[in-house]
Symmetry: C2
Subunit: 246 residues, 2 copies
DNA sequence: CTGCGCGATTGACGCAGATCAACGCCATTT
DNA sequence: AAATGGCGTTGATCTGCGTCAATCGCGCAG
């Protein structure tokens, strides 16, 4: 792995490729806050890495040496209880930052759902750079604020919403993200399995499946395939997500 | 209220009182990162406010004009569903910062549990100050990271833990906080009601009460009063919190 | 094409925790 | 001291979702 890394780094440096210039995730990411000069300094620290589906970017309990910027693909971030119960605390996509909620050690595991590419940074170097680039630090703080607000919304979901309300909220969130990434509204693509959705929503796969069927038979959504969903009645879904009856 | 505020502000300025110098919360707070000069500039923006029990610091949906630093007392932060279901997303104590997870509008309500004192800042002014005081911004980012990690831990609790595991986790967290605030380990003081604990843990008051009784009869804890608890078997509580049997 | 295997769906049943209800405790008021 | 009211506890019952199990459907290897 470190061999692969150094090969890539070498490639980037030697060939003089400037990945940031062509990076589709830049506009969505904290890097978007940086001017030419800052971007160059950031790029000098970045290690461009590809991760295969199922492979881990970081593991819960490991010493937190690195930070990541997702540039393509999607990632599951989760915590485990000793007996194997899993809570997925978030899914990450292009533009998302991984490692904000990190102290000395990672408190979560992050694994690729699809082929993923990331910009990988050494934490020590990144920290030094933050000191020099206040814009980057502001952008990170901004990002952290949003994540915190999202986390609080998820606590409301996990603590107080019914299965149907949870799933409706999840579909709307996902649709919003897909739209922001350039998809059409009322259309969404899932990169994770039912089991992963369940572990994100604090449910079981069976319950996720039942709720999906119900939304299908009531004409609120339509399944184009297992992983592609059309929202037929957005208002109804919205109402459900916020706790109105059926 | 704005009269009270201006009187206090005047008092601080005219009488030359420097509340930071005597502030018990400074060591616990982001202000702790500031040198003499930065602290003076921060203090110049601070409005020292007292809030009565039950009164709101901020209300969900209001335009987010202010940020707060809790200097004494405790606060409940919660979100509501339209039908009244409540999720308390956190309790705040001396040294805690309120307003990190804030965009244009507050996404939560914050109310005093006890008499509370805060340093209140105008968001616009605070932001300008952040620009000049990178140490403060770093400290805030650090704080946001910790909060995010805590939020993820709470998602694990809400999504995957049993009632007993949730309550055990809550007791340990609270005991740790009490210890950090100068109390003895294995002893804790609750500033909230059973209903508030329930709304924090995604349970009902009845379930909180039943679990408390069980821990009492199994000799894991002892109730000195309704709001003061001694942990008799910390290891057992720890095991419970992480999901071991009984 | 056929068989295999994994993920998704559907059904039957059970249980942890919610709901409903009664009561206890204690502080405050009159 | 009696009445009031808010909070906490305890018991009986109910239910949403989990658990267990069977089946389906689709992609893939041979």
């Amino acid at each position: 792995m470190s061999l692969t890394d150094s090969l890539r780094a070498a490639c980037v440096n030697v060939a003089g490729i400037r990945p940031c210039a062509t990076c589709g995730a830049r506009a969505l990411s904290v890097c978007g806050s940086l001017a030419e000069d800052g971007l160059r300094r950031l790029a000098a620290l970045a290690d461009d890495v590809t991760v295969a589906p199922g492979a881990a970017l970081v593991r819960e309990g490991d010493t937190a040496h690195h930070l990541f910027n997702i540039t393509a693909g999607s990632v599951r971030v989760y915590k485990l209880l000793p007996d194997g119960r899993r809570q997925i605390v978030g899914f990450l996509y292009a533009g998302d930052f991984l490692g904000l909620a990190t102290g000395d050690r990672y408190a979560f595991t992050a694994e690729a759902l699809e082929p993923v590419t990331v910009c990988k940074f050494r934490k020590t170097e990144y920290r030094r750079l933050l000191h020099d680039l206040p814009d980057l630090e502001s952008a990170l703080l901004e990002r952290a604020s949003h994540e915190l607000a999202a986390a609080q919304e998820q606590m409301l979901l996990l603590g107080r919403k019914t299965a149907q309300e949870r799933f409706a909220s999840f579909l709307l969130d996902t649709a919003r993200r897909c739209a922001r990434a350039g998809g059409e509204a009322d259309r969404l693509h899932l990169t994770m399995t039912r089991a992963e959705i369940a572990d994100y929503l604090g449910l079981t796969t069976e319950t996720v499946s039942r709720v999906t069927s119900r939304l299908k038979t009531t004409g609120v959504i339509r399944l184009l395939s297992l992983s592609d969903i059309a929202i037929l009645r957005p208002a109804a879904l919205q109402a459900m997500a916020h706790g109105s009856q059926d």
